[in-house]
Symmetry: C2
Subunit: 222 residues, 2 copies
């Protein structure tokens, strides 16, 4: 008789708060590690989940009430020592969501924590988050990925701040705008501007509908 293996899903849900890349943690309601903050996760339910993506969407909705605009498989973490219950597989997804949606969800038990200020988390969740941050940092170099963090509408200065938070470094304004033109995923929202304090009003943009669920890649990185 083969020893049985635990099959779970974890989701790294990333957002921007105060211009910083943050991860959403959920207070665990069961042992092991009950009452500690950890990645939202749960068992795969063979009776109801059609596949692992299905399971990720279900679990994320149960734990955070959110259906994020972007969900991608990150990697699988599997081994004998990562979970005190036994040999376990966690198929990990990462998701991006605008901070306003998290706040308006009013789901109890959620914490939003900057990725560079995390304490020691249960399981291998620190390592998982590090892997997700590497992935988003890498993909932000040459894709429209950070746009999923920006909400329905945004100005270019705001989007630049989001790219900078994802990349962990500042960007030149002129070359950032050139790259956004080249990407071609944005459209002006007619007649909408936003006053930026001392600056002249900035044009408001949104994602073109065909790119709301599809990543666009740059030929050459930022």
């Amino acid at each position: 008789m083969m020893q049985s293996i635990i099959a779970t899903i974890d989701v790294v849900l990333l957002t921007i708060q105060d211009d910083r890349l943050c991860v959403v943690l959920s207070k665990r309601d069961k042992e092991p590690y009950a009452n500690l903050d950890a990645l939202p996760g749960g068992y795969i339910h063979a009776e109801e989940d059609r596949d692992s993506l299905d399971a990720a969407v279900r679990i994320l909705q149960q734990k955070t009430s959110l259906i994020p605009p972007y969900l991608e498989q990150l990697r699988t973490f599997a081994g004998a020592s990562r979970d005190p219950r036994g040999w376990s597989i966690s198929v990990v997804y990462f998701a991006l969501v605008n901070n306003d949606l998290i706040i308006s969800s009013q789901q109890p038990g959620l914490t939003i924590c900057p990725v560079d200020e995390l304490r020691r988390l249960p399981f291998d969740h620190n390592e998982i988050i590090e892997t997700a941050v590497d992935r988003i940092r890498n993909k932000s170099q040459y894709s429209s990925l950070p746009c999923y963090l920006a909400g329905e509408t945004f100005t270019l200065p705001r989007l630049q701040k989001i790219y900078e938070a994802c990349l962990g470094e500042g960007l030149n304004k002129v070359s950032f705008r050139r790259k956004m033109d080249e990407l071609g995923v944005l459209e002006e929202i007619p007649g909408q501007t936003e006053s930026g304090g001392a600056h002249r009003p900035a044009q408001v943009y949104g994602l073109k509908s065909e790119f709301k669920n599809q990543l666009k890649l740059l030929e050459r990185g930022l």
Copy 2:
């Protein structure tokens, strides 16, 4: 009582034969799909495998007698309908190996098949191989990955053919050599040349020892 989930590993072992990117298939010795060619794979053994990478190395060695120089997690394929035995997770790795090693392993039951000439394979193995080919095509644009297919020593014309097989397109000789210089992973094998028919003898190269187990990335793609 939760329905149990099958936990397996599959390995996409890629090689170059006759200047074409090929996948190594292994004849299945058990049901389902007994006697059909499929990706080398097997159950995770919770008692002996420390983690999924451990399991991949063990299974690959059992099925092909090979320890490949490069092994990376590709993606996990998991769902209710991919395996007739029930809800299953396959953590998939991809590996690259020089063709000479496969031939000298003399493992029975192996077939080497060009990736663009595959018949319908068991499970979702066609989809898995497609995902692996996409990954290698993408990574070959900006990394030393294809060098792992070239064996211990090789000439630059040979390495260019390998890159071309991975990319699925021809490359300009001058810019290819410039990119290889920029990568900086190769070293000349002193005093070794190879006569190339009508051409003058070509210098023989190998991977610098520090890059035998570590990928090097280009700032900008090929």
